[in-house]
């Protein structure tokens, strides 16, 4: 067993090993770059990056399979439990996919080591976000995710689109983190505590300052909504995803979004329990209901009007944030909260594969010099049938058509929402899913049924991109038979949060 061999690392709790492996891999990449700054070692750098993320994946998987017990570490600052390990699985698999895909993307670029190191540092921050057990660590982990992401979006520094995207992402992100930290300060003012359990205890006596507390809670919700790309803070997403290198767009829209949700689940379930917060008038469930409906509707309607594939995928990822928000919006005192939260986690897990895959297909098209609009994709299936089959799988899975992973996760999610008594959230979700089928099938139609306007010349087949797109498609398909265990695990670990 890998985990047994590494269990003796001094000073690191064994549940933190996946995060530690990610961080050490990033430092190793920097070390190699310092010793050998020439840019001829791309294969080595890529291999180390993939190896590190796969090791983290294996560690998190084996710990989760062994039924890891919830352990608070470092004076309650972090909580290693099923939820943190489950999300680490998502982050590590997306990181591995993106690292493989970047091999072809970085071939003509300088600073490959920095690129991989930034990706892995962001992944470290994400797995710490999923383990945060105090507002202080939550903020630090969120910044550890955000700061490398800004740099990654602006990675093509001579490309106007990339720089503009980086700027906009940074401006909105800096504003959101300032709002978040002010919210944390208000919660601290009202309760005098930072760790989630201490805040939940102190809330009992905070009745007379419920206004300050409530404002703080809303501001914290705003800060995490930025990471999720949920509605009031979503407008960076289309810009950032369009301008950023496509593998980075995939990384941000899958892993970074899931990290925002992991953090939100932690904070709101741990620090502001529904049965205490709502009677005090701090009704964050209502806030998330409004956000969920707004995000679903706006994301899907905006996606339906896009001609640019990357922007369409960006708005579709906003829409998916709306579905996943049902996990928080359908909570109630005494309801089947573990089921609905777990369903949302399972949806984020499936989404990690299908959405990353879709962005990596776009990366492949960019690699071939295919344009960015829907028309440019016309007839692509004739020249690249295998990749087009994979893209078709991603599109139908994202739309939630029956034989694919996305259908099961949405079904379980909507079913759990109905079970909790929030049938109207499920109804809004179902209507939006039906709408989303329209714009996803436009891509499939362009790929398979339209005639190419310009004959397409494809040079060499990019190996890394092919491997990662096919791996993501395989992930989406394997999740069909495996979906039962995934959703059971997710609901078990989510139930342990309450």
């Amino acid at each position: 067993m890998i985990d047994l061999a590494l269990q003796t690392v001094p000073g690191v709790a064994d549940g933190l090993l996946p995060a530690a492996v990610l961080a050490l891999t990033a430092l190793l990449l920097f070390g190699i770059d310092t010793i050998n700054p020439k840019e001829d070692s791309l294969a080595l750098l890529c291999g180390i990056s993939v190896g590190g993320s796969l090791l983290a994946l294996a560690l998190a998987g084996s710990l989760l399979a062994a039924g890891y017990e919830a352990t608070p570490v470092y004076g309650d600052a972090l909580m290693i439990d099923g939820t943190s390990l489950f999300f680490t699985l998502v982050f590590a698999s997306v990181t591995a996919l993106v690292s493989v895909a970047s091999y072809d993307y970085l071939r003509d670029q300088d600073y490959c080591a920095e690129f991989y190191a930034l990706v892995l540092f962001a992944a470290t921050g994400m797995s710490l976000m999923a383990a945060a057990n105090s507002l202080a660590t939550a903020f630090v982990a969120l910044e550890l995710t955000s700061l490398p992401s800004y740099a990654l979006v602006a990675f093509l520094k001579t490309d106007e689109g990339s720089v503009e995207a980086g700027l906009k992402y940074f401006l909105v992100g800096a504003l959101a983190s300032a709002v978040l930290v002010f919210g944390i300060s208000l919660v601290y003012a009202a309760t005098g505590a930072m760790t989630f359990s201490a805040i939940a205890e102190a809330m009992v006596g905070a009745g007379d300052v419920a206004g300050v507390l409530g404002l703080g809670v809303v501001m914290i919700a705003g800060g995490v909504a930025f990471k999720m790309a949920a509605v009031p803070f979503h407008f960076w997403a289309p810009e950032a995803y369009e301008g950023a290198p496509a593998p980075v767009s995939g990384f941000l829209s899958s892993a970074s979004k899931a990290a925002g949700f992991a953090l939100a689940f932690r904070i709101f379930v741990g620090a502001f329990p529904v049965e205490m917060a709502v009677p005090m008038g701090v009704d964050w469930v209502l806030v998330f209901q409004i956000l969920a409906v707004g995000t679903m509707t706006l994301g899907n309607f905006a996606a339906a009007t896009q001609e640019n594939i990357k922007r369409m995928l960006a708005y579709s990822s906003v829409g998916h944030a709306g579905y996943a928000l049902i996990g928080l919006a359908a909570l109630s005192a005494g309801g089947p909260n573990g089921n609905v939260l777990g369903a949302s986690m399972a949806h984020l897990f499936v989404y990690g594969f299908m959405n990353t895959g879709a962005f990596l297909f776009v990366a492949m098209a960019e690699h071939w010099g295919v344009g960015r609009t829907l028309e440019d994709y016309n007839g692509l299936a004739a020249t690249a049938p295998v990749a087009s089959v994979a893209m078709t799988v991603f599109m139908f899975s994202l739309a939630g058509l029956p034989p694919f992973g996305g259908f099961f996760s949405k079904y379980v999610l909507f079913y759990a929402a109905v079970e909790s008594g929030f049938w109207w959230l499920a109804a809004v979700g179902a209507v939006n899913s039906a709408l989303s089928l329209f714009y996803y099938s436009r891509v499939v139609k362009a790929l398979w049924f339209e005639e190419a306007t310009v004959p397409l010349e494809i040079g060499r087949r990019p190996v890394g991109l092919y491997v990662s797109v096919l791996a993501a498609a395989l992930g989406t398909l394997i999740l069909l038979p495996l979906f039962g265990p995934v959703v059971e695990t997710a609901q078990t670990v989510a139930a342990a949060l309450f």
């Binding site: 700061l147 601290y188 505590a193």
Partner: protein, 101 residues
């Protein structure tokens, strides 16, 4: 004579609002960064005062973290503003509009 806690909340809220106003009205990216700094320091005022109010050092310690992270954020921000300047010949955030908002 002790100053009541609400005064500190008002002070920090005022600082925060000045920061927000700066973010919304300034077109210069560097002034934008300064406004963000103002918002973060508004939070620090709360942390430091309520640390004393509650009699624990958690808030004061965290304010040091906030200051350090603000510095890191500015470092990344300045880097991005630098490439903005090289690509768009200026640091006006409204100039960079090759994609529509």
């Amino acid at each position: 004579m002790a100053v009541p806690p609400s005064y500190y909340l008002l002070l920090s809220a005022a600082l925060f609002c000045i920061g927000v106003a700066g973010v919304l009205t300034r077109r210069n990216a560097l002034l934008f960064l300064m406004s963000i700094e103002l918002m973060l320091n508004a939070a620090n005022v709360n942390f430091v005062y309520f640390s004393q109010f509650w009699g624990n050092v958690t808030g004061q310690t965290f304010s040091l973290f906030v200051i350090a992270l603000a510095a890191a954020e500015v470092a990344i921000g300045i880097g991005i503003i630098l490439v903005l300047y090289r690509n768009f010949d200026g640091v006006d955030v409204t100039e960079a509009t090759t994609m529509r908002w």
